[in-house]
């Protein structure tokens, strides 16, 4: 049986190898990429939500000194491969596809829809050129809301589709829905709305495209979560062989799901670069990022709950509508994940679910950190609402309904086994840390002084990566690959398709490899960001801790065995008696026998060995996730609401989380806190707002408000003892959980604070004005 290497680095908050460059301004972000002869692109964008494009006159723009070229939608269609969005085509169930051109040709479909691209000697000049492009629009009645889009008579955003309903997802049933509802003590009905908000990384999208006519190679510097997915996106649309496209990425200033594949703008820039024979650079500015890069989460739910009088949540029947915006892709895929996750870690025995995706005149719905998060919001809100109606404590109702940890594991009614889930433990732990009874006494006392404090709890599980399922994994979320090699300078190099954008992979993977292989942390190098060099991979779905951590561990083990087998020949010893410690191969128990691994590699490269000796100190490894597992946790927030101004202060926030074994606790905690901050932002500050004409109203940071250091409290995090499922790989993902569970945690706390006013909350966005409205409305509706 192989021995697990002594754990020196794994589990410790090793300082990041990324930080010296980050802290001294020597990071290499996409805007920092400078090639000789680069031109700069800026987009002319539609000021109208829905209109026909009658004519685009670029002559004045073209004549402006410093402007090199202007391309319209028609120009670019002529030099690219037309077709629908490739991801939608891959996932779509047949039937007509929405027309997908890089730039709008005959119609614009949302405010910010790109209509033309101006390429000039500087971004300043390109924007001057944009002002001179004259577009003749004929207004069309807008479809500014899902409610309007549901009307089959609403003006079709895509004429070829006939209406604005893209995904009627036919009804599924799990368990005996009719029987469960018929036998319930009571049926509760709720309409719950989640508002549109968005990723907003501090760095927007961008690329530098450079095409070499002689070799036919397109080099694309990108900010992306996968160089390979971007490569295939560019190759496909530009009609190139994938081998002729090379995608390079360096440091990335955040993404949270936004920067995947190749956007319409990036493809337009690549086409322009090829046409012009000079590098073209586009750096998305903040207003473009807010208006046009994509938005998320706008979903509404009609929920019926079958409930026992003792608080048993027996069944849910849910009808969902998702607003996918004007160029639907991700929005059509999210409902299926929500359906699967709705039961959560609870004993729900029946679920009915159907969804409808609609097209509106808004920016596209994109993936945003935990795209399915609304399932947790709905379920955790429903539990609190039921608890309040039944007079049951919110902790009690959860403990009552949580699935027990059994062997074989309890299975969600939608199919996945809850193997290793520690929801009960995390709920009890967070309650213990917060000391709820003491808080309740304080709450009562403060209420007599006219101060309104509240406490809220919520729990979640996340498939990071989820339990082992039958059959091989496939597609972008399938096997994880890594190439590992030992070089003559003693460096162990890991080549990974992961594309960190804040996840600290260059540190965490090196920790695992250093431990498993037996070299100091400083002797491991992690190579990322070159599609010619790294294997396929994608950073997303909270998969890297398990999948990439696992392939690193197993790959390092395989390479160590290879090195020891070769060293055995070199040192005339048995491989069983050799080990690698502190960068040296030595005979166990004989420290003087040590040979540095670099020397071993030099010997291997010397060509002095018989053909039957394997001297290639390199491994191509893959990993299927092992036993996998769930991540999850329970959060608790204490808030104070100023009922005269509606301002909410988060006084305390506690998270008890379980992500299995920790590779680097500081990295894990940073991910959790960042996700929670986004959840707090979503509830108190952030909204992607459109008016009734489809005009976008949150186009600057004066209107799209992000939380600051005065808005996020110290967050206390407790890591639970986990249930190891796998012999080796028990690291689980943690990137999305904070953002998934923070919104219901906070909304539950706010409703608790406002309980004396009789407030019930069925929505996620609670700015100060809305808090006062809710208090006023509750007062009016009291008998």
């Amino acid at each position: 049986m192989t021995q697990i290497a002594a754990e020196r680095y794994t589990g410790a908050s090793i300082k990041r190898s990324e930080d010296p460059r980050i802290l001294t301004g020597r990071g290499r972000y996409i805007a920092d990429v400078k090639l000789p002869g680069t031109l700069h692109a800026a987009f002319v964008r539609s000021p109208l939500a829905h209109a026909r494009v009658l004519a685009v006159d670029v002559s004045a723009a073209r004549d402006l000194p410093g402007v090199v070229a202007v391309f319209t939608g028609a120009d670019l269609e002529a030099v690219t491969v037309p077709g629908p969005d490739p991801l939608l085509a891959l996932m779509g169930g047949g039937g007509p596809m929405p027309e997908y051109t890089l730039l709008a040709t005959d119609k614009v479909r949302f405010v910010g829809d790109p209509v033309a691209v101006v390429v000039a000697e500087s971004r300043y000049l390109a924007e001057d050129g944009c002002e001179l492009v004259d577009v003749d629009y004929a207004d069309l009645p807008p479809v500014p809301s899902a409610a309007l889009a549901l009307d089959p008579g609403s003006p079709p955003v895509f004429v070829n589709l006939g209406d604005n309903i893209i995904g009627p997802h036919k009804r599924s049933e799990f368990g005996d829905v009719a029987g469960t509802f018929a036998g319930a003590d009571r049926i509760a009905e709720f309409r719950i709305d989640v508002h549109r908000h968005q990723n907003v990384p501090m760095e927007g999208r961008g690329c530098v495209a450079s095409h070499d006519a002689d070799s036919g190679i397109m080099t694309m510097y990108a900010a992306t979560q996968s160089v390979h997915v971007t490569k295939f996106g560019v190759a496909g649309r530009l009609g190139m062989e994938p081998e002729k496209v090379r995608v390079l990425a360096g440091d990335i200033g955040g993404s949270f799901g936004l920067k995947i594949g190749a956007s319409r703008e990036e493809l337009a820039v690549a086409a322009a670069a090829r046409a012009l024979g000079r590098p073209v650079k586009w750096i998305e500015d903040r207003s473009e990022n807010l208006t046009a890069s994509g938005q998320a989460r706008e979903e509404s739910f009609d929920v019926r709950a079958a409930v026992g009088n003792d608080g048993d949540l027996r069944g849910l029947d849910v009808k969902m509508v998702i607003d996918t915006g004007a160029y639907p892709v991700m929005g059509t895929m999210v409902p299926a994940i929500i359906e699967m996750m709705l039961p959560g870690p609870y004993k729900l025995t029946a679920l009915g679910f159907e969804s409808t995706a609609v097209i509106t005149n808004k920016a596209s719905y994109v993936a945003y950190r935990g795209p399915w998060a609304s399932e947790t919001f709905v379920r955790e809100r429903v539990l609190d609402l039921l608890a309040r109606d039944l007079g049951i404590d919110p902790l009690e109702i959860r403990l009552r309904n949580v699935a027990p940890r059994t062997d074989p594991p309890f299975t969600m009614i939608t199919g996945r086994p809850l193997v290793g889930v520690t929801t009960k433990e995390s709920l009890e732990r967070v309650a213990q840390i917060v000391d709820i009874p003491t808080f309740r006494r304080r709450q009562a006392e403060e209420r007599t002084q006219g101060r309104y404090l509240g406490i809220g709890l919520a729990t979640f599980i996340e498939a990071a990566p989820g339990p082992r399922s039958p059959g091989p994994p496939s597609g972008p979320m399938g096997l994880e690959y890594m190439r590992l090699s030992l070089s003559e300078d003693g460096i162990l190099t890991l080549f990974t398709g992961q594309m960190p954008h804040g996840q600290s992979h260059q540190t965490t993977l090196a920790q695992i490899a250093a431990d498993e292989f037996g070299v100091p942390f400083e002797q491991v190098r992690v190579v990322i960001g070159d599609s010619d060099v790294v294997p396929f991979g994608l950073t997303g779905g909270s998969r890297s801790a398990t999948m990439t951590g696992g392939v690193t561990l197993h790959g390092a083990r395989q390479l160590r065995n290879k090195v020891l087998d070769f060293a055995a020949v070199l040192m005339e010893a048995s491989a069983r008696d050799l080990e690698i410690t502190d960068g040296q191969v030595l005979v166990r128990g004989d420290p003087d026998s040590g040979i540095p691994v670099g020397e071993i590699a030099r010997q291997a490269a010397s060509g002095q060995f018989d053909a039957d000796v394997d001297t290639s100190l390199e491994v191509e490894a893959s990993f299927d996730g092992g036993e996998g597992g769930w991540s999850g946790g329970s959060h608790c927030a204490i808030v104070e609401v100023d009922v005269e101004t509606g301002i909410v202060k988060v006084e305390r926030y506690v998270a008890a989380e379980d992500c299995g074994a920790l590779i680097n606790p500081a990295v894990v905690e940073g991910q959790i806190r960042g996700g929670i901050a986004q959840g707090i932002g979503a509830v108190l500050l952030e909204r992607s707002a459109y008016d009734q004409d489809g005009n976008y109203q949150s186009a600057t940071f004066m209107d799209y408000l992000l939380p600051t250091a005065c808005d996020i409290p110290r967050i206390e995090i407790e890591h639970l003892e986990t249930v190891p499922l796998d012999a080796d790989v028990n690291f689980r993902g943690v990137g999305e959980g904070g953002m998934i569970v923070a919104p219901p945690t906070l909304v539950n706390a706010i409703e608790d604070a406002l309980a004396p006013f009789g407030v019930r909350i069925y929505e996620q966005h609670l700015p100060p004005a809305r808090i006062l409205e809710l208090i006023g409305a509750a007062a009016k509706s009291r008998p």
Binding site: D19, T24, Y29, D32, M202, I252, G253, G670, L706
Partner: protein, 156 residues
């Protein structure tokens, strides 16, 4: 075009720029000092923060021509030769950052804060940094880095 002479990180630079060019673009494009990042270009996010004549300012809200005759310090100039100054070291030790895009702005704003208020406590630090936006960290690790730097500064 306007001719300007400006001192950046202790070195004198002369250039010829359009009046409309922001200081942030001048630093990044003309002087190749790409450490200063541009996050919004309308003065809200703070990623572009540099120090001008001893005060932290948003370089996207200054024209390059306005820096003529001033001493400008960018993140590259905080410690010589790419080394880590005490504040940067404390932030490294505290795992202050993740994607790093907001980092130069935070470093410069915190440097200015600690120079003026070496004994700043947590609430003061939070308020002083509330004009810098981070999307990754939830701020706690950044505050801890600044607190650690302040503590080490007191210990001498």
């Amino acid at each position: 075009m306007v001719d300007i002479t400006v001192r950046v990180n202790g070195a004198t630079h002369t250039g010829s720029v359009e009046a409309r060019k922001t200081l942030s673009d001048f630093l990044r494009d003309d002087l190749d000092l790409t450490g200063t990042h541009v996050g919004c270009e309308h003065g809200v996010c703070g990623a572009c923060t540099v120090i001008v004549d001893g005060r932290a300012v948003r370089s996207c809200l200054m024209l390059a021509v306005q820096a003529a005759g001033s001493e400008v310090t960018t993140v590259e100039g905080l410690a010589p030769d790419g080394a880590l100054g005490a504040l940067q070291q404390a932030m490294w030790d505290s795992h202050s950052f993740q994607c790093g895009f907001c980092t130069p702005g935070f470093v410069m704003q915190a440097a200015a804060l600690l120079r003026a208020h070496p004994d700043a406590g947590e609430q003061e630090i939070r308020e002083a940094l509330s004009g810098n936006i981070c999307r990754c960290t939830g701020y706690q690790s950044i505050i801890d880095g600044v607190l650690l730097a302040a503590q080490r500064g007191r210990e001498g």
